[in-house]
C-alpha cells in the first residue's frame, strides 16, 4: 500500500523529506556526541586535578562554548526549515486544477469546479483523480467536525475546519495510486476514513473527468434494472444521488459512477460484489457509527441493488 | 545531637501586614490566578470580535444607566475600604468593624444593582458568541463580588463576636486588599461590556 512519507512522488512531499533528512542527520550526530560525552564522563579515570577551581573554570568555558554551538545549530535549522517553508507556498500556476476537499463523518468529497461553467461541476467521493505534473490547488473545508487531509506520498496535512476555508496544494510527478487518510481524530470511524489519489497522465485525467460529467448509464441487464427500481423506490434516495435519475440527495456519497471506483466506504472495502453486498446489508457492523443504516432488503433484492450499483461505471 | 543556637526568634512579632506576611502571598496568589482568567476572557472577547463584521452582531447596544451608577458607587466604596484597611493596620477594632460594616452594606447594594444590570443587557447568553462572552465576563465578575461580600460579612461577624487578635487585623487588611482587586477589575469589565459595543 502506498502511504509513506519516506517515498515521495511530488514536489511538496519531496521538499519535506529532504528537510527531514537534514534534520535527521543533524540530530543523529548530536545524539551520538551527547551519549559519547556521557559515556566518557562515566568511564574515565578519576584524577585529583578534577577538583581544582581551574578545572571548574575550564568546564564553564566548555559549557558556554557548547551552548553557543547548540544555539548556532538551532538557528541554522530554523533557517533551513524556513527556506523549505517558503518553497511550499501555493504556486501561481497558469492553469492549476482547482479542487474543493470537503470532509464528512467519515468520507471525503472532492469537487472539481469549472470556473467558466458551474454546471460542469464534478463530485468524486473518496477518490481524487489528478493529472501528473500539474499543481492541484485545493480549498479545504468541512461539513461537520475537524478532519485532516493527508497523502503522505504527495503532501503533508491540512486540517478541514468547519466555518473556515483554507487553500493548499500538491502535485504528483509520477503516475500511480496513493492512499490518503484522515489525520485528525473525528469520531468512531476516524480509523476508516481513507481515500485514494489516482495520479494519471493529463489525457487520461481529461477523459476521466469527461466521463464523470456524464449521467449514469441505463441498466442493461434484468437484475440491474430491478436494482435501479428498488434503489429509487426504497430508502437509498433519501441520502444518495445518481445523476440522470430522480435520486438527488446529497447526504451520502454521489453514486453516479460508483461502479468505476476502486473502493467503497471511504477506502475501507474493495469495490467488489460481496463487500458491497455486506455493506448494503449492514454498514454499521463494518464501520462503527456510520450514517448508512442497515437495510431491510431480501437478499435477492440486495443482489439486484448491488448489480445495479456495479453497473454504474 | 548537639546544636549551636545561632539565631533567637523568641522576640520576633507574631504577625505582619502586607508582603511580609504569608496571608498576603496566598491572597495575591489567587488574585493572580483570577486576574489571568479575566485577562484571557477579555482576550477571547476581542478574538471573537475579529470574527464578525458587526459588533454587537445584530443586537442593540446595552443600556448603561444602572451599570454606570453601580460603577460610581463601587468607586466611592474605595474610601471606606481604605479607612477599614487603615483602621486594621492601626489595630483600631471599633474603626475596623464600623468601616467593614459600611463596606458590606455597599457590597450588598452593588450586588442588587448588578442584578439589575443583567436585566439591562442587550442579549441572552445563547443568542450568539458575543452574548456568550458578555454574560460569562459579567458573571465571572459577579461571582467575585458576591464571594467577597459574603467574606466581608463573615469577617464582620467574626470580629464582632470574638476578640480581635493581631491575626484578625491582618485578615481585615487583606480583605480590603481583595476588595481593591475587585474594584480594579470592575472598571475594564464595565468598559468592555457596556461601552465597547458602542465603540467597536
Amino acid at each position: 500500500m502506498n502511504q509513506s512519507a519516506l517515498d515521495p512522488h511530488g514536489p511538496v512531499a519531496r521538499t519535506i523529506l529532504d528537510l527531514g533528512w537534514v534534520l535527521f542527520s543533524v540530530t543523529v550526530v548530536v545524539y551520538v556526541l551527547v551519549l559519547a560525552g556521557l559515556a566518557w564522563a562515566l568511564l574515565r579515570q578519576r584524577r585529583e586535578s578534577d577538583r581544582t577551581p581551574a578545572a571548574d573554570r575550564r568546564f564553564t568555558s566548555i559549557v558556554a562554548a557548547l551552548t553557543g554551538v547548540t544555539t548556532l545549530t538551532l538557528v541554522g535549522l530554523v533557517a533551513v526549515s524556513e527556506v523549505s517553508g517558503r518553497a511550499l507556498a501555493v504556486p501561481h500556476a497558469i492553469r492549476p486544477v482547482a479542487v474543493d476537499v470537503v470532509g464528512h463523518q467519515w468520507w471525503w468529497e472532492f469537487r472539481y469546479r469549472d470556473e467558466n461553467d458551474p454546471s460542469k461541476l464534478v463530485t468524486s467521493p473518496n477518490e481524487l483523480h489528478i493529472p501528473v505534473g500539474v499543481p492541484i490547488v485545493m480549498r479545504a473545508m468541512s461539513q461537520d467536525v475537524i478532519h485532516s487531509f493527508w497523502v503522505p506520498n504527495l503532501t503533508g496535512k491540512r486540517d478541514l475546519i468547519p466555518g473556515q476555508v483554507t487553500t493548499t496544494w500538491m502535485q504528483a510527478d509520477t503516475a500511480g495510486i496513493y492512499r490518503g487518510q484522515c489525520a485528525e481524530f473525528c469520531g468512531p470511524s476516524h480509523a476508516k476514513m481513507a481515500f485514494l489519489v489516482v495520479a494519471e497522465p493529463v489525457d487520461k485525467f481529461q477523459s476521466w473527468i469527461q466521463h464523470q460529467r456524464e449521467p449514469a448509464g441505463v441498466p442493461t441487464t434484468a437484475p440491474a434494472a430491478q436494482g435501479r427500481d428498488l434503489f429509487l423506490s426504497r430508502q437509498c434516495t433519501l441520502c444518495h444521488a445518481i445523476q440522470g435519475t430522480p435520486a438527488g440527495a446529497r447526504l451520502g456519497p454521489d453514486l453516479t459512477h460508483v461502479g468505476s471506483r476502486m473502493t467503497i466506504a471511504a477506502g475501507t472495502l474493495a469495490n467488489e460484489r460481496d463487500p458491497l453486498d455486506a455493506w448494503v446489508e449492514n454498514a454499521p457492523s463494518i464501520k462503527p457509527g456510520v450514517r448508512m443504516p442497515p437495510h431491510m432488503l431480501e437478499s435477492s433484492e440486495r443482489e439486484a441493488v448491488v448489480a445495479y450499483l456495479r453497473s454504474l461505471q | 545531637m548537639t546544636t549551636r543556637a545561632a539565631i533567637d526568634v523568641a522576640e520576633l512579632p507574631d504577625h505582619a501586614f502586607g508582603p511580609r506576611g504569608l496571608i498576603w502571598w496566598g491572597t495575591v496568589g489567587f488574585m493572580v490566578i483570577e486576574g489571568s482568567m479575566f485577562v484571557i476572557a477579555i482576550v477571547v472577547y476581542f478574538y471573537l470580535r475579529l470574527k464578525v463584521h458587526q459588533w454587537p452582531p445584530s443586537l442593540p447596544d446595552p443600556f448603561i444607566g444602572i451599570a454606570t451608577a453601580n460603577l460610581a458607587l463601587v468607586l466611592l466604596s474605595c474610601i471606606p475600604n481604605m479607612l477599614a484597611k487603615r483602621a486594621a493596620e492601626r489595630y483600631d477594632a471599633p474603626g475596623a468593624r464600623l468601616w467593614l460594616a459600611v463596606l458590606t452594606v455597599i457590597g450588598v447594594v452593588n450586588l442588587v444593582l448588578r442584578g439589575l444590570e443583567y436585566t439591562q443587557l442587550n442579549c441572552r447568553w445563547g443568542d450568539n458568541a458575543y452574548a456568550s462572552i458578555t454574560w460569562v465576563l459579567l458573571s465571572m465578575h459577579t461571582i467575585h463580588v458576591a464571594t467577597d461580600v459574603v467574606d466581608s460579612a463573615v469577617l464582620l461577624a467574626l470580629v464582632s463576636l470574638q476578640p480581635v487578635t493581631n491575626r484578625r487585623f491582618v485578615d481585615l487588611s487583606e480583605n480590603s486588599l481583595y476588595w481593591y482587586f475587585i474594584v480594579a477589575w470592575w472598571i475594564p469589565i464595565y468598559l468592555i461590556i457596556f461601552l465597547a459595543p458602542r465603540w467597536l
Binding site: 564522563a41 559549557v63 547548540t70 468547519p162 493548499t168 487518510q181 457509527g289 | 533567637d8 504569608l22 450568539n128
Partner: protein, 640 residues
C-alpha cells in the same frame, strides 16, 4: 529543654489525629503528600492497563479485541488520566512532601487548603474512572477538540465528564501551586538565600508559577465547553460568531506549558540524584537555575506548534518554529551541566542514578525529535502520526517518569523508613528501559510510514503489522517493569531494610531529619550556611539552629523573600474535618453541574457553610488559644 522533652512537646503540638474522622482531618503535608502519591500511582496503573489493552488491539491489523467505541474511550481516558491525574499531581505531591523538609520548615503553607486539594483531586479521579467503567468515558481525545466534543457531535455526557475532570484537577493543582509558591518564598530556613535554594526547590517554584499562569486558560476553555453543551452558549459555534480554533488556542496555551509543568520538577529530581550519587554539588548552579526559569518563560511562547496544520499564516508559524527550537537550549545547558557533574564526580551506580542515566539517554532523543517537530514543514508530515506518539512518550515517560521512579527509589527510605530492594531495582530499571525503547522506538518509523494516531485499527495491506507487534511486545515488557516496581514497593514497605536518616549520603536538608520525618519535621529549625544543607554540616559537631520558636504552638518562622532573614512567626491551623466536607460539597457540585445548571444555586449554601466552618476559629483549637495567649488587645464585649 532537653531534646527528648522538646520532641515530646512538638509531637504533641503537631499531632495527627487518629480514627476515621481524625484521618480525614489530618493536615500534615507528609501524610497528604503520601496519599497524593499513592493515589496518583494507582491512577497511573489503571491508565497503564488501558494502554496495554490498546497495544493488544493494535498488535495485529483488523483486530477485533476492542471495539472502536472502547478504543476511543480508552485512549482518551489514558491520555487524560496520565496528564491530569498522574503526571501533574504526582510531581506536585513530591513537592508537597519534600519542599518543607528541603527548606527547613515545619509544615507547608495553608495546610488545610492542601488537604482540601487532595480530596478534590481524589474525587475527580474516581469520577473519571467510574464514568469509564459505566461506558460514559470521554471518547473525544484528551484534547477534546470542538466541534467533535461540542453539543452537536458529542451526544450524551461523555465529554462533560472530561470537562469536569479538568475543573477538579485544576482546582487541586492551582491550590497546591499557591501553597508551594508561598512556602518556598516565605518559610525558608534563615540563611537559605535565593542563591542557596536547592535546585529541586527551584524547579518546584518554577512549576508552581507555570501552573498559576497556564491553568486558568484551560479552566476557562473547559467551562466554555460545558456551557456550550449544557446551556447553549455559542463560544465554539462558527454559525453564531464562535470559532473552533478558539478552543485550540486556549487549550494549547495551557497544554504546552503543561508539558513543562510535568517535566521541570523531574529536572529538579535529576539534579538532586546526580549530586548525591556523584558526591559533589551540581556543576553550574547559576546556569541550572536560569535554565529552569528560562524554560518556564519560553514554555508559554510556543503553543501554536500544535496547530501547524490548521493553515495559519506562514509568518506567524516561523516565530513559533523558532521559539519551539529555542526552548531546547536551556534543556541543553542542563544536560551539559549534568554530564560535567558526572565527569568531575565519583558516580555510584545505585538504582536512582541508573534511572537518571536512562533518562538522559531517552530524553535527549525525545528532545531531538522535538526539534524536528518544531520545523513547520516537517511537522506537516508527521503531525498526528505515531512519530508524535513516540516523541512525547520519549519526553514524558523518559523525561519525567524515569526521573520520578529514580526519585521514588531515592526518597522512598525518607518517606517510609525502609529501603527499596536494590537488586530488584536494577532489574526494574533494565526491564523498564528495554521495554520502553522496544515499545516506542518503532513508533517513530510507523509514523514516517504513514500511520496516523488515534486509529483503533489498520488494514493488513498497510504493512504496519510487524512494527506494531514489536511495539506491543515492548509494552508487555514495560508492564512487567511496572509490576516489578509495585512488588518491590509492597515488599519493602513491610520487610525492607530499615533506613537511617541519611542512607545515601545525600546533599539536601531532607537527609538531616529522621526517616520517616516526625510530624514537625525539624526538632531544631536549622540555620542554612550553604547550598548543600546536609554536606555543609559535615565535620560540624554543633550545626547552627534557630531557637525561640514556641514548641507548644504550631508556630512557624516566616523569613524574607530573597535574603531569608528571620522576619516574624505565624501560627498554622490545627487538623480539621471541614476541608474534607468542603471538598465533598465541591465535588457534588462539579458532578451535578454535568447534568443541570441548577447545581450551582443548590451548591452555594452548603459550600458557604463548609467554608465558614473551615475558617471560623474553634475555641478548642490550639491555634486559637495560642493566638489569644499571644495578644489580647481588646476585651470581649461584656467582659471587664
Amino acid at each position: 529543654m532537653t531534646d527528648e522533652a522538646l520532641h515530646r512537646q512538638l509531637a504533641d503540638t503537631w499531632y495527627n489525629p487518629a480514627g476515621l474522622v481524625g484521618r480525614l482531618s489530618i493536615v500534615d503535608h507528609k501524610v497528604i503528600a503520601r496519599r497524593y502519591i499513592v493515589t496518583a500511582f494507582t491512577f497511573f496503573s489503571i491508565a497503564g492497563v488501558l494502554a496495554a489493552l490498546m497495544r493488544l488491539q493494535l498488535a495485529f491489523p483488523d483486530n477485533h479485541f476492542l471495539t472502536a467505541d472502547q478504543y476511543n474511550q480508552f485512549f482518551t481516558v489514558h491520555g487524560t488520566a496520565m496528564m491530569f491525574l498522574f503526571a501533574v499531581p504526582v510531581m506536585e505531591a513530591m513537592g508537597v512532601y519534600l519542599v518543607p523538609i528541603m527548606i527547613g520548615t515545619r509544615a507547608i503553607a495553608f495546610p488545610r487548603l492542601n488537604a482540601y486539594s487532595y480530596y478534590v483531586y481524589l474525587f475527580g479521579g474516581v469520577m473519571l474512572f467510574t464514568a469509564l467503567f459505566v461506558n460514559s468515558g470521554p471518547d473525544v481525545g484528551w484534547f477534546s477538540y470542538v466541534p467533535l466534543a461540542g453539543p452537536d457531535f458529542g451526544p450524551g455526557k461523555r465529554p462533560d465528564f472530561w470537562a469536569q475532570l479538568i475543573t477538579f484537577t485544576e482546582v487541586a493543582g492551582l491550590a497546591v501551586a499557591v501553597e508551594l509558591a508561598a512556602t518556598i518564598l516565605k518559610t525558608r530556613a534563615p540563611g537559605m538565600t535565593v542563591s542557596r535554594i536547592p535546585l529541586f526547590v527551584w524547579a518546584m517554584l518554577v512549576m508552581a508559577f507555570m501552573v498559576i499562569f497556564a491553568m486558568p486558560s484551560v479552566v476557562l476553555s473547559s467551562t466554555f465547553l460545558l456551557l456550550d453543551r449544557l446551556v447553549g452558549t455559542q463560544f465554539y459555534n462558527p454559525a453564531e460568531g464562535g470559532d473552533a480554533l478558539l478552543w485550540q488556542h486556549l487549550f494549547w496555551f495551557f497544554g504546552h506549558p503543561e508539558v513543562y509543568i510535568i517535566f521541570v520538577p523531574a529536572l529538579g529530581m535529576v539534579s538532586s540524584i546526580i549530586a548525591t550519587f556523584t558526591g559533589r554539588p551540581i556543576f553550574g548552579y547559576p546556569a541550572m537555575v536560569s535554565s529552569l526559569v528560562a524554560t518556564g518563560f519560553i514554555g508559554f511562547g510556543l503553543w501554536v506548534h500544535h496547530m501547524f496544520a490548521t493553515g495559519l499564516p506562514q509568518l506567524g508559524l516561523t516565530y513559533f518554529t523558532a521559539a519551539s527550537m529555542i526552548i531546547s537550549i536551556p534543556s541543553g545547558v542542563q544536560i551539559f551541566c549534568w554530564i560535567v557533574s558526572l565527569w568531575r564526580g565519583q558516580p555510584r551506580y545505585a538504582t536512582p542514578l541508573l534511572f537518571v542515566l536512562g533518562f538522559v539517554a531517552i530524553f535527549v532523543l525525545g528532545g531531538l525529535t522535538g526539534v524536528t517537530l518544531a520545523s513547520t514543514p516537517f511537522d506537516l508530515q508527521v503531525h498526528d502520526t505515531y512519530y508524535v506518539v513516540a516523541h512525547f512518550h520519549y519526553v514524558l515517560l523518559g523525561g519525567a517518569v524515569f526521573p520520578l521512579i529514580g526519585g521514588v527509589y531515592f526518597w522512598f527510605p525518607k518517606m517510609t523508613g525502609r529501603m527499596l530492594d536494590e537488586r530488584l531495582g536494577k532489574w526494574n530499571f533494565w526491564i523498564f528501559f528495554i521495554g520502553f525503547n522496544t515499545t516506542f522506538f518503532p513508533q517513530h518509523l510507523l509514523g514516517l510510514h504513514g500511520m496516523p494516531r488515534r486509529v483503533y485499527t489498520y488494514p493488513a495491506s498497510s504493512g504496519w503489522g510487524t512494527l506494531n507487534l514489536i511495539s506491543t511486545a515492548g509494552a508487555m515488557l514495560l508492564a512487567m517493569g511496572g509490576l516489578l516496581l509495585l512488588f518491590n514497593v509492597l515488599r519493602s514497605v513491610r520487610r525492607g531494610a530499615v533506613a537511617p536518616a541519611d542512607p545515601w549520603g545525600g546533599e539536601g536538608l531532607e537527609w538531616t531529619v529522621p526517616s520517616p520525618p516526625p510530624a514537625y519535621n525539624f526538632l531544631h529549625v536549622p540555620v542554612v550556611e550553604g547550598r548543600s544543607g546536609n554536606w555543609d554540616r559535615r565535620g560540624n559537631e554543633a550545626p547552627p539552629v534557630v531557637t525561640g520558636i514556641k514548641a507548644d504552638c504550631r508556630e512557624v518562622l516566616i523569613t524574607t523573600v530573597t535574603a531569608a532573614e528571620a522576619d516574624h512567626k505565624t501560627i498554622y491551623p490545627d487538623p480539621s474535618i471541614w476541608p474534607f466536607l468542603c471538598s465533598v460539597v465541591t465535588s457534588a457540585f462539579f458532578i451535578g453541574s454535568i447534568f443541570t445548571p441548577w447545581a450551582l444555586p443548590v451548591a452555594i449554601p452548603p459550600l458557604a457553610i463548609t467554608l465558614i466552618g473551615w475558617f471560623w476559629p474553634k475555641r478548642s483549637d490550639r491555634s486559637t488559644q495560642c493566638d489569644l495567649a499571644n495578644n489580647r488587645l481588646e476585651p470581649l464585649r461584656g467582659e471587664a
